[in-house]
Symmetry: C2
Subunit: 457 residues, 2 copies
C-alpha cells in the first residue's frame, strides 16, 4: 500500500524540496511579530487547497491555524501538531547563507525554521497531499493544528486547547519536531518532563556599599543566595527541598525495558561537551538522569561587580534564575509552593518570583497507537525506532494528554545537528523526504487500525 | 603660638578658597591619564615656591611628587602623604555644576577632587605657607609626598617606597584623606585592614546547553560555585576557610578602651542603609566587625542568563569575584594560599585568579606622636578627636609602617557626605579652613616635641 505513496514522493522529491524552500523563505518570527499573519494565512490557504476546512483561531497572542479533513467517522482521527513560528535568526553575521534565503549545500537545506518546525510540518502537509494525489482520499481523519507562539513558550496553548476542546477531536496526537538520535536512528518519544521557572531575589542594603567600610556589618545578598541555594541541593547533587523528590513515580518495568534498549549516550555526550564527570549524583544511570528525576538548575545568577579585575563593592541585590524539570506527579504549582515554603523557612527575606510552568506528560508505552507508528517508521526508514519513555526537555504535550486526555507521540524528522535556535539551521534533504514518507505511512497505518471503541461509537 | 597662625588663616580664608578652587579646576584623572603631568608639575612648582627641594619621581606608571624642606636636624620630620589624582567624574549628567568648574553653594565647594584628595593636601600646603608667612620658617622638617595613582589602586607605591627609602626619611607619616565622623567630630585613624581580591572561576561543559535536554547530566558551574562558597562561610556568617581566622591577633586593652569611647554607629548605619539586621555573626559588636575580624565578601557573582523572564539554559561558566579584608597578622599571600588550598580540597576544578593584595597596617595607640596630633586637632577644632584603632577599608599605609617602619596616622579633613568617588563631590568651606588650621597646629606641635632619639642622634 505504501509503495505507490513512496514512489510518488521519490518522483516529486525535487519539487517538494523547492516548495519547502519557498515556504521557509517567509519569516515568521513570533518574538518580534514579523511575518506571523502572512505565514498563518498562507497555511490556511494551503490546507484549504488540500480540501481541509481551515481557518485562523484568534488568541490574545498570535493565531492558531486549525484545519479538519474528515473522510470517514469509522476511521481514527489524528491530530497533527506543529508550529509555524521560528526563532529570531540573530546573530545574523554567523550565518553562512542568509537565514531567509534558503540554500542547498552538502545535501542539506539551510534556512531558519527548516528544522524547527516549518520543514517538519511541511513534510506532513506533503504526506497528506501524496495520499490525496495517489489515492484521491485519506486513509484516516486529520485535525491539523499549527501554533504561532511555540518559540516564545506557548503561552496560549493551554487556554486554547481548553476553550476549543470540541474542535480538537482526535484519537491521538502526533508531533513531528526536534531531532532524530545522533546516530540518525528514528525515535518515538512518549513523554516529556515539565518545567517550573522562578527567580530568587535577595536584597541587602539600600545601595551598594564599600566592602571595606561596611564588610562585616552589611549583609550581602549574594551570600544570602549562596547559603539559601546550598540548602536546596546538597554537595552530591541531591535536591533537598522537601516535597520535590519524595513522591516521584518510579519508572515502570516497560520503561526500564525501553531504556535498556537505548544506546548509552553518556560517553558521546561527555566527549562532545568535554566533560570529565557527569553531574551529581554520580551513581545515577544516564537515562535515569533525563527521564525519571526532577532537576533544579540555576539558569543564571547575577549580582554585584562583573567586570575586569577587582572592585571592592558589597552589592545590594542578587538574583538567581532557576528552573525545575518535573516528572510525574509533580506540577508547577506544587513545585512553586514547595520552593516558596523552603525559602520562607531558610531565607525569609528572599522573594520568589514565579515564571512559566508546564506540566510533565507521559503516554503509556503500551498505547494501542504505538504499534502503527512503529510500523510506519519501519516502512519509511527500514529500521525500528528507538522508544523514549520521556525526554529531558519540556513541550506542552500535557495539553493533549491531560486536557484532551489523548495519547501524544513525538516523531521527529530532523537531523541531530539541525542547529535549531542557532545560526545555520539546516535539514538533511534525505531526512526531509524520509519524513514525508513517514507521515504518509503513518496515515496509512492509522487507516488500517481496527479501533474497538470506534466500532462501538 | 597657634594664635598668630590661626589669625593669618582666618584673614586669608577667602583667598585660600579661591586658590583651592583654581587648583581643582585642573583635571587629573589617573584612570584616563588626563591632566596628570600638568597637575604634578604644578605641585612641583608650588612646593618649589615654598622653598622645598621638589621634583617628580618617575615610575612605570604616573609620577610621584616628592619635596623636602629641612629646617633643623634636631627636629622631627613629618612625611605628609596625599594623592593628586582624582576619580573619573562619570556620570557627568548627575553633576549639578560641572566637575571641573568649581562652584560654591550652601557653604561648600563643589568639584571633583575637592575632598578626595586635592582639597585636603592643598590645606596642608596652605598650612606650610602660613608657617612660612607668619614665622619665616617651619617648626619641623617636612617630606611632602603626593601619589598620582591612588584612585587606580596605588600599583606603584610599594615599589616606590622600597626603592626610595632613603629619600623618604621621616619620624612619622600623616595622611589627610577621607571624611570626619558623621557627627562632624574629628578623628585619627591608627590602622587599616588589608585586602586580598581574587576570582573563583568555574567551568562546565564546552558550551551552554539546554536545561531540559542536559539537566541532570551536565554539571552546572553556578552550582559548583554555590557549593564551594557554602564551604567557605557558614550560614551564621563565620568564615570556615582554614587559616583565615585562627591566628587573628585579638584587640589589645588599649584598643578595647578606644572603641569603648567611640559612638555606636550601628543604629545610624542600619537606618541609613535600611537594614533590619546586621551581617552574621549576629552577636559580634559593631566596631569589632570593622576592626578586628577578616571578612570574606562576594563582590560579584555572574553566570548564565540574567535578562527578563526565564531562559532554560544550563550555563557553562560562572565567576565569583571576592575580597578578603585582612587583619593582623594576615597577609595577602597567606590568604591566597589558604583560599587556593581550600578550593583544591573542595572544588579542584575551580580556578583561583589572584588580583590585588594589600597588607593591613597598625600604628600603636600609645605611639609618642599620638598626643601631639590629638593636641593639634583640639587646638584647631576645639574638641578631642575620636581615635580609631583601625578602619574597615584598606589604604596602603603598610608601605609606611612595614616598609619604612614608621608610625602612620590618618587625620581626615572632609565632611562625611563629601561624595568622593561619586557625582557632586564637595567640601565644606569651614572644614577646609579647619583643615588648614589642623595642619598648621600639627606642625607647631611636632616642632615642640622633645624626641629622645633625636637628642641621641
Amino acid at each position: 500500500m505504501t509503495e505507490a505513496l513512496f514512489r510518488h514522493i521519490d518522483e516529486n522529491a525535487d519539487s517538494f524540496v523547492e516548495r519547502v524552500m519557498k515556504y521557509v523563505s517567509h519569516p515568521s518570527i513570533s518574538a518580534h511579530n514579523i511575518g506571523i499573519r502572512e505565514v498563518a494565512q498562507m497555511l490556511v490557504d494551503h490546507l484549504g487547497g488540500l480540501g481541509f476546512d481551515a481557518g485562523l483561531v484568534e488568541t490574545p497572542g498570535h493565531p492558531f491555524v486549525l484545519g479538519h479533513l474528515k473522510v470517514d467517522p469509522a476511521k481514527p482521527t489524528v491530530l497533527l501538531y506543529g508550529h509555524y513560528d521560528v526563532q529570531p535568526p540573530d546573530p545574523l553575521e554567523a550565518w553562512i547563507s542568509p537565514p531567509f534565503e534558503p540554500t542547498i549545500r552538502d545535501g542539506r537545506i539551510w534556512a531558519r525554521g527548516i528544522g524547527d518546525n516549518k520543514g517538519q510540518h511541511f513534510a506532513q502537509l506533503l504526506a497528506i497531499e501524496t495520499h490525496l494525489k495517489v489515492n484521491g482520499t485519506l486513509p484516516c481523519n486529520i485535525t491539523f493544528l499549527l501554533e504561532g507562539e511555540e518559540e516564545i513558550g506557548s503561552p496560549q496553548i493551554a487556554d486554547f486547547v481548553r476553550d476549543n476542546r470540541d474542535r480538537l477531536h482526535a484519537d491521538l496526537v502526533v508531533t513531528s519536531d526536534g531531532p532524530l538520535h545522533e546516530s540518525g536512528k528514528p525515535i518515538i518519544t512518549f513523554g516529556v518532563r515539565g518545567v517550573a521557572s522562578f527567580d530568587l531575589v535577595a536584597k541587602g542594603a539600600a545601595r551598594d556599599v564599600h566592602s571595606g567600610n561596611y564588610g562585616g556589618v552589611v549583609p550581602n545578598p549574594i551570600w544570602t543566595l549562596v547559603q539559601l541555594l546550598a540548602t536546596m541541593k546538597d554537595a552530591d547533587g541531591n535536591i533537598t527541598v522537601e516535597g520535590l523528590t519524595e513522591d516521584v513515580i518510579p519508572a515502570t518495568n516497560l520503561e526500564r525495558e525501553a531504556i535498556a534498549r537505548l544506546p548509552d549516550d553518556a560517553a558521546a555526550v561527555m566527549r562532545d561537551l568535554q566533560l570529565d564527570t557527569m553531574d551529581g549524583p554520580v551513581e545515577r544511570p544516564y537515562w535515569d538522569r533525563l527521564m525519571f528525576h526532577p532537576t533544579l538548575t540555576i539558569n543564571g545568577l547575577h549580582g554585584g561587580y562583573g567586570g575586569q579585575g577587582s572592585k571592592t563593592v558589597l552589592p545590594n541585590e542578587a538574583i538567581a534564575k532557576c528552573d525545575v524539570r518535573l516528572v510525574e506527579p509533580l506540577t508547577p504549582t506544587h513545585v512553586f509552593e514547595r520552593i516558596e515554603a523552603h525559602v520562607a523557612a531558610h531565607a525569609p527575606g528572599v522573594e520568589v518570583v514565579r515564571h512559566n510552568g508546564m506540566l510533565p506528560s507521559k503516554t503509556p508505552l503500551d498505547s494501542p497507537f504505538a504499534a502503527p507508528i512503529i510500523r510506519a517508521i519501519k516502512a519509511a526508514r527500514g529500521v525500528d525506532p528507538l522508544l523514549y519513555p520521556t525526554v529531558g526537555g519540556s513541550l506542552p504535550d500535557y495539553v493533549f494528554t491531560k486536557i484532551l486526555g489523548k495519547p501524544a507521540f513525538v516523531v521527529p524528522y530532523a537531523n541531530a545537528d539541525e542547529a535549531n535556535h542557532a545560526p545555520n539551521e539546516n535539514l538533511e534533504i534525505d531526512l526531509f523526504i524520509a519524513g514525508i514518507k513517514t507521515g504518509a505511512a503513518l496515515l496509512d497505518e492509522l487507516g488500517r487500525l481496527d479501533l474497538p471503541q470506534k466500532a462501538a461509537e
